[in-house]
């Protein structure tokens, strides 16, 4: 197990390096540069700026400089903000992390119970009604659901602010916007996983032993039934992150997602790279965690590996 984790961490580093390299050259391929904003600046000022940041040097020299400072933990200056990239990430990442955590929590807290109930009471109203709603939920894109929620709960009912990130109640709408879609997906996956296990022979064995209904569900079915949900958590996290790009912009949340979007538009090379590194690290680590949980849940994988 330990060897497995170590191996995966090394793999993660390799993946990060590839992502950094590819992103580094891709952003430079995009037309324009950090200083070609709407308001054009005098060419000699721009030349000085390019020189100051080393952007006038050949790409591979820039790459060498970037990687060597990266190895020292320095993500470089931002070309469009007065803060450097380390500071920006330190300020915005916790905001996005909180938003993402709420969204995932909502997704799990709604999706899991709904899916379990739908599977247990399959082909009844407790199955049909929530599952039809889930189908609608899956089809609703974030950029539609967000404004709808803001309009309904913010503007008409006036329960929440339509934008900003100050009090705890400001978390509700953005987290719901991202979370509901995944709640729907998780409900469907949970239902499928549970149904798959409930029709297995060993459930019949448990019934033949006189195991009561709720014990059959919680002790004999959940473990296997939730495995597909666990493997979905990796893609779900990636989805939540891309959801946050949209939602942080809609609700004016000072998070990493918004920085990522604006830095890409502004060709703020170092900031793009910084955010990409954070996201890539987050996703690969989350996938590692998913794999570990899967191994813990499923004894068969555990023994094949060791």
């Amino acid at each position: 197990m330990f060897k497995f984790i170590l191996y995966r961490l090394l793999q993660t580093l390799l993946v990060l390096w590839v992502i950094v390299t590819v992103t580094f050259f891709l952003v430079r391929l995009a037309p324009g540069d950090p200083f070609s904003a709407e308001r054009s600046m005098p060419s000699h000022v721009k030349e000085r700026l390019m020189q100051h940041y080393g952007l006038d040097q050949p790409a591979w020299v820039q790459y060498g400089n970037y990687v060597s400072s990266l190895l020292q933990g320095d993500l470089g200056p931002s070309y469009t903000q007065s803060r450097n990239v380390n500071q920006i990430l330190a300020q915005t990442f916790p905001v996005s992390l909180e938003l993402g955590a709420w969204a995932l929590l909502i997704a799990l807290c709604i999706g899991l119970p709904v899916g379990v109930v739908a599977a247990v009471y399959r082909n009844t109203r407790l199955d049909y009604v929530p599952m039809s709603m889930a189908m609608v939920g899956i089809c609703l894109p974030t950029f539609v659901l967000g404004p709808l929620l803001a309009l309904f709960f913010g503007v008409w009912l006036n329960w929440f602010n339509v934008s900003g990130w100050f009090g705890p109640h400001d978390r509700v709408l953005p987290a719901l916007t991202i979370g509901l879609v995944y709640a729907a997906v998780i409900a469907r996956i949970t239902r499928g996983g549970m149904l798959e296990i409930l029709t297995r022979d060993f459930i019949r064995t448990a019934r033949a032993k006189g195991v009561p209904f709720h014990t059959i569900i919680f002790k004999h079915t959940l473990r296997g039934g939730l495995l597909p949900v666990v493997s979905y958590m990796g893609p779900a996290l990636a989805g939540v992150i891309s959801g946050s790009f949209v939602v942080e912009t809609i609700f004016q949340i000072p998070g990493l997602g918004r920085e990522f979007v604006s830095s890409a538009f502004n060709r703020d090379y170092t900031l793009v790279l910084g955010t990409v590194i954070v996201y890539a690290a987050l996703i690969t680590l989350a996938n590692l965690l998913v794999d570990i949980v899967q191994v813990l849940l499923n004894p068969r994988i555990r023994f094949e590996d060791s």
């Binding site: 060993f202 064995t205 033949a208 195991v211 009561p212 296997g224």
Partner: protein
Amino acid sequence: MAQPVLQVQNLTTRFHTRNGVVRAVEDVSFDLNQGEVLGIVGESGCGKSVTCYSMMGLIPQPPGRIEAGSAVLDGQIDLLKASEREMNAIRGKRISMIFQDPMTSLNPYLRISTQLIEPLQLHEKLSKKAAIERGVEALKEVGIPQAEERIHFYPHEFSGGMRQRVMIAMAMITQPDILIADEPTTALDVTVQAQILELIRQRQQANGSAVILITHDLGVVAGLCDRILVMYAGRVVETGTAHEVFKKARHPYTIALQRSIPSLGTKGKPLYTIPGLPPDLSKPIPGDAFALRKGIVSGGKWDHTPPPMVQLSETHWVRESDCELPSLEEVLREC
């Protein structure tokens, strides 16, 4: 004579599926006496499993429905009408069950220990520690070496035969009055089959339990059963003591089943198999259920008025049939 532990009367179970009504079990009656071994024999799809699942409350409803009958335990409780709570107190304690496929009958996500001691925790309210001790005992009794360690293994670390031993240990751990074994050896290697049957017999005698042994192979029940029930197309066609069914069989189907036991004596001769297939139970059987079985005739209209059961002795009953089966030599010459 003492009262039977289980009296099944006129059991009728059907499945109401999209493709029609499957008449899986029609009007089946039998008694099970204390400590005896009853064999239920018939080809696949004849309703053997459904008969037992009905008694255990394991029929998925819907599509299944128990249309009629009773299955009375101890002359007191009708299992077919008992509530889920009453059944949970009976299943695993008074009546246990083992299944055909030991590879899928154990939960792959739970340790053997967890599954094995569950009946003790549920029915005897034993502490985990005491239950584990009994579990280790039980595993030793079914011949699993290093039981102290292996009780903590997962099912996939056991071979098929070993898993069936675990199933037997799990079923017998509460010393039930009745053990239902549904084709317990069908999925196993031939070499292991005899061991498992011997083990069932041994545990049965140690506990004094009654056993219902389901099989499609009359050879399997030969040395093991006190009484035998032969089923065909959801109905009983012949029932009697082992001696009666083997030596004085009257129904052509029973005789055909006997002939299809591969035995040492037939070496060199072609193996006999009953020609044709059993009828599709999802459609009514307008005439003779044996219509597709060359050489066997019983007459009657099986969906309404099957041939009646005739009593031959105190224990021997047979469904009326219109024919004498031609001698085996004749049959083999034909094919």
